[in-house]
Every structure is written in C-alpha cells, then in structure tokens.
C-alpha cells in the first residue's frame, strides 16, 4: 500500500498535523481512497520509527506536527522513480469468474452482458464525479484513471464476447 509514501509526498510540501494529512490525502485522491485517522497515526509512527519523519513538540491541544527528514525525501523520490509492478495488484474476480464460466461450460453471454451494463453504470458515476470536480487536477486524474480502467474492462468484455461467439464450444451449445 502506498499510504506511507503518499504521506511522505504530502509532508514534502511542509510540516503537517495528522488530521491535515488525512484531509489532504483524500482531496488529492478524489475521496476514492478514504483513510481513517487511525491508519494515519499508525503510519506516522512507523515512519518515525524508520527515521523518515520527525515529530515536533505537542502543542497545548495535544497536537503534533510532523516534518519529513532527508531519508524521508529520498524514500519519496525512490517511490516516484520506481514503476509499479503488475504482480502487486490484486487478482480480478471478474476475470476468474469468466474463466470459470467458460470452464464450467455455462452460457457466458448473460454474464458478459450483465457485467457490461454494471460497468457502464460505474463509468457514468465516475464521469458525473469528474464533471463535479472539474477544477481539481489531482482528483480529475484519479477519476480519469478509474475511467480508463473501467473502459479497459468494457473493451475486454466486448473482446470476450467476440472470442466466445467464434469458439467451437459456443457453436456446440447453441446447436
């Protein structure tokens, strides 16, 4: 998970309180990745343990301001310059579901059709969110990413349908 590096990136803009980090994290990611304040403090204490951030004195309200260290900046730069590996991403239930439907010789068409409509609804919701957040570039790019992913899924579903329509297995079931 990139919470650790995400917090470092926010701290590279200047010292922050924990609650500020949480709010800024959510603003930057378009509220697509909600954090709870517990996650923020747990992550901050690990960053502190690893000398990537240093806490200031508690103020009278008991709040602590955190500052990024040199090692913290190096860690953030390493993160920015390292590509994300495909294998780090979770397996996709839809892919497994379709593969299993084909293996089990179920009729794949209704599975594809139901998914296509559901994915289009997701795309419509994301597009509405994007129109509502037109002024925020970080949020817009996060939503664009989700839009492109949903669109890739849509294209893949079309592809599955075409492949299955042409396959001997389908022609056999329809006979």
């Amino acid at each position: 998970m990139a919470i650790r590096q995400g917090l470092l990136a926010l701290l590279s803009q200047g010292p922050r309180y924990g609650y500020q980090l949480r709010a800024e994290f959510e603003t930057s990611t378009g509220a697509t990745w909600p954090l709870n304040i517990g996650q923020v403090y747990t992550t901050l204490s690990r960053l502190e343990r690893d000398d990537l951030v240093s806490p200031g004195e508690q103020d009278e309200q008991g709040r602590v301001v955190y500052t990024i260290t040199e090692a913290g900046r190096a860690e953030m730069e390493r993160w920015f310059s390292t590509p994300v590996a495909q294998a780090d991403r979770p397996r996709d239930e839809l892919v497994i579901k379709l593969a299993m439907a084909v293996t089990a010789r179920a009729d794949v068409r209704p599975v594809i059709q139901a998914q296509r409509t559901a994915t289009m609804r997701t795309l419509q919701e994301l597009t509405r969110a994007k129109r509502a957040n037109a002024g925020e570039p970080a949020q817009r790019l996060v939503l664009d990413s989700m839009i492109f992913q949903a669109e890739a899924e849509q294209r893949w579903l079309d592809h599955c349908e075409a492949v299955m329509a042409a396959s001997p297995q389908t022609q056999e079931t329809q006979r």
């Binding site: 289009m120 795309l123 075409a162």
Partner: protein, 235 residues
C-alpha cells in the same frame, strides 16, 4: 412544460432489401429521448446503430413502427414537409464532418439558417452566437483547414445547433480526437442537454458514452440492455 419526448421511436423495424436477401437492420426497437436527456447508443458494427440514428432524424423511414419528432409522426409527411421538419428541428453531426472547405467557420454555420430563408445578416448573427457558445468566436472567419481538428468538430456541432433545433444526433462526434478534446465535445453536448436539448449519441468509446444519462446497448438490431433500470451489482 411538456413531458413529451423530443423524439419517439415505437416498435421500429427496418428491413433492407427484400425476398431471401432481406436483412433486418433493426427489429422492434422502442426508444424515447426527452428534452434535457443525453442518450448514448453502443453496439458492435452491424448492430444497427447508424440505422437507428438515421431513423431518429428522419433521414430514413422505418419498414414498420413509427417515428415521431416534436409531436409530428413522420410517416404521414410529404417529402418536402419532412425535409422542412428536419431542417427546423434536427441537427446532425456525422463522423465525416462535411464542412465546406471554401466557406469560413461562420459561413458553414450560417448555411442551414440561410436554407431556412433567414436573411444573411440575421443568419450571421445566429452563427456568431452559437460559435461563441462553443468557444470559437475568435476563429469565426477562418477556413476549416486553418483550424484544429477539435475546432472543426466544434464548428460542425455549432452548425447542428444553430437556430431553435432541440434534437441533436451525433454519430461518433469525437472521431479521432484525443481524450481531453473529446471530453470538451461531450461537455458541450452535455451543456446543450442541460438547457433543454435532446441528444442521441452513437459512440464505440465507453468513456464518452458514460457522459450520457442513459446508455442503450444494441445487438443484432435489438436493444439488448440499457442502464436505465438500476441492477444490483453481483461482484
């Protein structure tokens, strides 16, 4: 305010050719597009998308079933009246933009108004108004080959919008534009819907279809599914 749809297709069938060679391009399709609504049509090639758009705009007539534009059933119209109704009520944006290269952007947009018998001065005022709306006031007097692809696309949309036409039919209006420019085009169509136009959009790009209020999936000439009725996600 009227809740009648701007265009209504009821149980529309379109058969091309006859006898053993007959091909059903559309089979029993019913679809309403209301004022303020953006409807996207998706489907593989040959699924009947373009036939549907041509029928909705009165460019083609159904073999059976009815098409009603702004309350007027098309089937009863004489050819000249049909042409007049199309000019007054329907705007078209096709993939091939059909801008006339020897006319400026403003002159291209004026053309349908002049065909309507509007005087040139008024037609130019109307054209400049709609060009301003699509953000092109500054290129009004340039020729199509002097402006960018995205700008040409917007000129074609302005031409489709000029006058009081409420029904806008768009066939792949984002063509080969990059995504931010394509988004601008959809933003424009969306804005027209929000002030009361009805837009029927054919696209093969899910990210543009997602701007619609409703997405209809065509398959073999029939509506296979639509995002109109919410389903529970089973994932």
């Amino acid at each position: 305010m009227s809740f009648d749809p701007v265009v209504r297709l009821a149980d529309v069938t379109r058969v091309h050719g006859d006898g053993p060679q007959a091909v059903s391009a559309l089979r029993g399709v019913s679809l309403d597009v209301a004022a303020g609504e953006l409807v996207a049509v998706m489907g593989p090639s040959g699924s009947g998308k373009s036939t549907l758009l041509n029928l909705a705009g009165g460019l083609d007539l159904p073999t059976s079933g009815s098409v009603v534009i702004e309350g007027t059933p098309l089937v009863s119209l004489k050819a000249a009246d049909l042409a007049g109704l199309r000019r007054r009520h329907v705007g078209y944006v096709f993939q091939d933009l059909n801008l006339i290269p020897s006319l400026t952007a403003a002159e291209n947009v004026m053309l349908p108004r002049e065909l309507d018998g509007i005087r040139a001065k008024q037609a130019r005022r109307d054209a400049l108004e709609v060009l301003t709306e699509v953000g092109l006031a500054e290129v009004a007097d340039r020729f199509p080959d002097e402006i960018s692809g995205g700008q040409r696309q917007r000129v074609a949309i302005a031409r489709a919008l000029v006058g009081e036409r409420r029904l806008l039919l768009a066939d792949e209006p984002t063509g080969a534009l990059d995504t931010p420019t394509g988004d601008d085009i959809l933003q424009l169509l969306r804005a027209r819907c929000d002030v009361g136009a009805a837009v029927l959009l054919v696209t093969h790009e899910p990210r543009y279809a997602a701007w619609a209020d409703r997405v209809v999936f065509l398959r073999d000439g029939e509506i296979a599914d639509s995002t109109a009725v919410p389903l529970k996600s089973a994932r």
